[in-house]
Amino acid sequence: MGLFEAIVISVIAASTPLLLAAAGELVVERSGVLNLGAEGMMIMGAACGFAGAWLTGSTFIGALFGIAAGVAMSAIFAVLTLGLAVNQVATGLALTILGIGLSGLIGAGFVGERINPAPHLYVPGLSDLPALGRIVFNQDGFVYFSILLIAGIWWFLYRTRAGLILRAIGDNHASAHALGYPVLKVRFYAVLFGGACAGLGGAYLPLAYTPFFIPGMTAGRGWIALALVVFASWRPLRLVAGAYLFGAVSILQLHAQGAGIGIPSQLMSSLPYLATVIVLVLISRTRASAGSAAPASLGMAFVPDR
């Protein structure tokens, strides 16, 4: 295996959990809801995903457990912010704190246990092709799913009526409501979808990335996912670029260090974040005249006038 190939494979692995979680959050925010609880949902997905895989020996069932955990967490968020119109920022932060604590409790019994990492696709012939074979045809299921997920979200948002309604609700919930669209119902489903994605992204960590569970193993990836949504200016295809750019810079700086390039490691470690900020600035400059890319109703509670 060449070094280039090895680097690309590491980049894909590092980017996938971010992409999964950010994809869900993108849909949530497009519907006008700001769920800052991504970290909490991810770590719950990690704990429950590991538990599922450990109990059944199946990565697939583990992933389903992770999704279920994310959905359950997001349901709490949905009931509070949509049903009771509680402040979304505060609820999201509380969800993160809850998730970190609860996942530690659930996962306590699983610390130190081992499972087999997620199986990788193997297509005879294709997977052995030089250079691209291992990169394209020898990944685990999460990686392929994350790409399909983004394609699906893009198609949903821009090519379906339901997607148009969801975007309309995110941009102006009062008008959408006046037109007769079920604002809260759509947002409820969007939040649950976001929870499912975050749970799956979290589950990727103990199921494929580092096959064991340790409390706090998401180590801030939920926050990165949130930042990536802004970075992508709420567009699914840019999200892929953002996640892979972040992953690439994270991995390349490690390789640069190993190769003995004399740049301070602290600077290198900050590179992924620096790159994100720079691109963000560039994007906002070009669209300064067009106004903010954020959904106009983002983060605002909606209470229908009955």
Binding site: I97, T210, P211, F212, I214, P215, M217, S265, Q266, S269
Partner: protein, 358 residues
């Protein structure tokens, strides 16, 4: 944002544990942890120490711990929270808590503090650390013996003296076996991020390292090494569970006897601010069983360990050559003195990497 949150969690946790202040005659002992208690590394070992004192002293004491407290100024609030809620002896267990601990100790002169791995003391602030470099020296010998490529991969957390002295001790040990041994160092600038630690391990292996050593807290690197079929060393605690055929040995931080001793001294009213720096001899640093290696390597490791315990071998015996090949000033007579090791800010000859910050 994350920092803020973690602190919020810590403060909430402190507030919650502060509520049931019942028995005033109980000695309250507090611990500040940098990672989660289940990290299977650094924090886990301190937690084992805390559980030991609970077992040992039972009803005489009450313990509290705050986990995931980030280093730096933010930790001050958490330490102060423990001080305010009646804790009489507070252990702050990471290098980055040094200045905050000094500050809080000054503010609460009647409370006794102990800071791990730092170097600042006060009348009510003692310091303690392990001579981890002794274990690193043994690991260096084993690594050089077991490596086929002659390239060691080293995952560093932060370029602080404790980590630097570990790298140097590794190299000095390895050079006794193979004078041309190479080391690749990757700093991840975190103590705990399993994903990042795994990525660093992959990068090192992809660049030709066939022995992985780490100075970070999770077993992620061990597991990557296991997947790739190479050898690695556990860190802080025995990580053989994560790589039964991978772990050569591990440095185990054995804090329990020390915590028992200090709590007993406090209960007896004999606690004093001291500077404790114990190693293999005092069993504050222990080696996990030597596994997955041929008998001659195992014997070499055991002999080295015995020599260090007996005091006939010092990993930093003079002359120690700096990166430029010139001998470093020898302040300890036959070996570098404590200050030079605890404040180590240079690489030894043979480390083919730029010293961080120089």
């Amino acid at each position: 944002m994350k920092k803020l949150l973690v602190t919020a969690v810590a403060v909430l946790a402190a507030a919650a544990t502060a509520l049931p202040v019942s028995a005033a005659d109980k000695l309250k002992v507090g611990f500040i942890y940098v990672g989660p208690v289940g990290d299977f590394g650094w924090t886990y070992q301190h937690e084992v120490g805390r559980q030991t004192i609970v077992k040992e002293f039972g009803d005489k004491i009450e313990t509290t711990y705050l986990e995931n407290v980030s280093e730096g100024p933010d930790s001050e609030r958490s330490i102060e929270q423990l001080a305010r809620t009646g804790h009489q002896l507070i252990f702050t267990t990471s290098f980055g808590y040094m200045d905050p601990t000094v500050k809080v100790a000054k503010k609460y002169p009647k409370i006794d503090f102990e800071h791990a791995t730092g170097y600042k003391r006060a009348d009510n602030l003692g310091i303690y650390s392990g001579r981890f470099y002794e274990g690193r020296y043994i690991q260096g010998i084993i690594a050089a013996k077991m490596s086929k490529t002659g390239v060691l991969g080293y995952i560093g957390s932060f370029p602080i003296p404790e980590v630097i002295s570990g790298i140097n001790a590794t190299m000095l040990g390895a050079q006794t076996v193979n004078p041309n041994i190479k080391i690749k160092i990757i700093w991840v600038n975190t103590w705990f991020d399993p994903g990042k630690e795994a990525d660093a391990a992959k990068a090192l292996i992809d660049q030709g390292a066939d022995i992985i050593m780490q100075h970070t807290d999770s077993p992620a690197a061990m597991q990557v090494a296991a997947q790739r079929g190479i050898y690695a060393f556990g860190q802080d605690s025995d990580m053989s569970k994560f790589g039964p055929k991978t772990q050569l040995t591990a440095i185990i931080n054995n804090w329990a006897p020390y915590y028992v001793r200090q709590v007993k001294a406090k209960l007896d009213g004999k606690w004093k601010a001291e500077d404790t720096w114990d190693g293999l001899k005092e069993k504050m640093v222990m080696m996990a069983p030597y596994t997955n290696m041929p008998d001659d390597v195992k014997k070499m490791a055991q002999d080295t360990e015995a020599a260090i315990v007996a005091g006939t071998l010092h990993p930093f015996k003079c002359p120690v050559l700096g990166q430029d090949g010139k001998p470093v000033e020898c302040k300890g007579g036959t070996h570098l003195d404590a200050g030079q090791i605890l404040g180590m800010n240079f690489y030894v000859k043979g480390v083919d990497d730029k010293f961080p910050g120089k």
